[in-house]
Structure formats: C-alpha cells, structure tokens
C-alpha cells in the first residue's frame, strides 16, 4: 500500500466520518480504505472515539440556579420582551 495515499486519507478522515467531503472524494477514500487494513483499523478507532466524545459530560454537575438569580433573570427577560413589543418589526 502506498503510504502517501494513507497520508492523504489521514488528513481528511474527520470530514470523511462526517460525510462532509465532496461526493467524488468520499468515494475515492472509500476505495482506498477498503483495501488498506491499517486505514480500516484506524478509521474504526477514530469513528468510535468521535462517537464517545459526542457523549462527553464532565463529572461535575452545576448547582441549582439560586432563587435570587432566577428572579433577576426573569425581570431582565420581562424587560426585553417589553422592548421587543415596542420595537418595529424585524425583516
């Protein structure tokens, strides 16, 4: 296997996984990857890493919003809504 091909594929793998490459390019990568065991292996590990990463949440949860803060937010929200009603319609 030509390692230059692997190098070119390596640079495009995120967009390949997201299916964001132009049609022709995606098929080109498909053709290379299906015949290249190291690339198959690497794509699998990257795909699974991305899937895991998308589910990432830090191990710390926020405290509840304090009542006083919530009230201040509600007042600011009410003012903004009143301003919006008084403003000319948006395009």
């Amino acid at each position: 296997m030509n390692e230059n091909d692997c190098q070119n594929v390596f640079a495009l793998l995120s967009e390949y996984i997201d299916r964001q490459l132009p049609d022709g390019t995606c098929e080109e990568l498909d053709r290379h990857i299906q015949d290249c065991a190291p690339c198959v292996e690497f794509v699998e590990s990257l795909r699974k890493s991305v899937a895991l990463g998308k589910k990432y949440v830090p191990g710390v949860d926020p405290m509840p919003v304090p009542d006083g803060v919530r009230e201040a937010l509600r007042e600011a929200y009410a003012k903004s809504l009143a301003q919006r009603e008084g403003s000319p319609p948006a395009h």
Binding site: S14, V50, P58, G59, P62, V65, L73, Y77
Partner: protein, 214 residues
C-alpha cells in the same frame, strides 16, 4: 444531508418560544442553558466557582439583550459566544490564546517498520459509543482535559453541542477552515488519549497490539 447541519428541533423551538414569550419557555431555557454553559466553562476553565459565575453572567446578558436577537436560529451560537467571552474574562491568561497548530505528522500513529501494522490498540471489541463503562468514562475525561484549549473549545462546541462549523467560526472568531482543521486535530488527540487506555484497560480476552510508543 450534511452532518454539519444537524437539526436540533427542540432547541430551535425553545429559542422561538423564548423570543415569543411563551409560557414555560423561560424556566426550560434557564435550566437547559445553565447546565450547558456550566459544563462548557467547567471543561474549559476547570473551576466550579468560575463555571457557576460564567453560567449566571451569560444568562443575565442573554436576557438583557434578548430584544437584539432577531433570528431564533442564531440563539445557541449567540449564547455560546457570550459564554466564551465570559469564560475568557475569568482567566488572567486567555485559554483561547492562539497556540501552535499541531501538524498532522505529529498526530499520525506509528507504524511497525517490518509488518507495516499501526501501533494502535484493538478497538474491535468496543461497541459504538459505549460510554457506560466507568473506566472508559474516566479515560474520556482525562483525554478531554489533556486536549490543548484551542482544540478542547472546538471539540465541545462542534461535537458535544453539535453547533455547525459556521457557528463555531463565529463563536471563536476564526475561519471555517480553522474550525475544520482544529476539529480534526482535536479528534485525533482524543483518539490517541483513548487508545492509550484501550491498550492497557481493555477487557480480558482481547489482544492489545504490542508497541511502546505512548
């Protein structure tokens, strides 16, 4: 359809409801985004107190300036841009300061000179997205924390929050090409961090490949 344009109908509808003053939208928005902004800023800054303050300050700015927002489609990116700036203000030194971009060559896994095999773990035993395993979750935490900040920010916005490439570019004041470049590097680094765990912590019966490169 492009994966970049991931539809998030609930969030978009919530933005519409909030801007229209619909009943219940305020409470739902505060609870949802307080959590989102807290998690984003905690992962960026690493301080619970700072993250709580960033979440509250961001929400206050959002509600104070809500009348300026015209398009609900832009709500989420707008909120995260405010959060990013609030997060920055908590730091003496910018966590988003430009750092050297890693080259792809630095991120390529090593190959065995004779067999040509990659020096990576055996991932075939791991089901897709199986983050239920506590050890794997810890490994993911470490891998995320080890990401350089400019890659961590893109990873959080693009992969965790599913914001589009264009939205991420607006939030972070960089071009869309930079977002794509950094997302790829962030994912490669995350993969490498998890690979180290897969080599040592995988279930019995699997056959981690040999290799000493860390």
């Amino acid at each position: 359809m492009s994966a970049d344009a991931q539809e998030q109908p609930d969030e978009l509808q919530l933005a519409r409801d909030l801007m229209a003053g619909s009943a219940g939208a305020f409470e739902h928005f505060v609870d949802l985004y307080h959590g989102k902004i807290f998690r984003y800023s905690f992962t960026m800054c690493g301080h619970r107190e700072d993250a709580e303050e960033v979440a509250q300050e961001t929400l206050m700015k959002v509600f104070e300036n809500l009348s300026q927002l015209r398009e609900p489609e832009h709500m989420k990116a707008w909120v995260f841009r405010i959060a990013k700036n609030a997060c920055l203000s908590k730091r003496r030194k910018s966590v988003f300061a430009p750092a050297r971009e890693l080259s792809l060559e630095e991120l390529r896994p090593h190959r065995d000179g004779e067999s040509g095999e990659l020096d990576i773990a055996d991932w075939s035993a791991l089901p897709d997205a199986s983050a239920q395993n506590a050890e794997l979750k810890t490994a993911l935490d470490h891998a995320v924390q080890k990401l350089p900040e400019l890659y961590r920010a893109i990873f959080l916005l693009r992969d965790v929050e599913c914001l589009s490439t264009a939205d991420c570019a607006r939030i972070l004041d960089v071009s869309e090409d930079v977002v794509k470049t950094r997302l790829h590097r962030a994912r490669l680094l995350l993969r490498a961090g998890l690979d180290a765990y897969m080599k040592t912590g995988q279930p019995k019966g699997s056959h981690p490949k040999t290799g000493v490169h860390a």
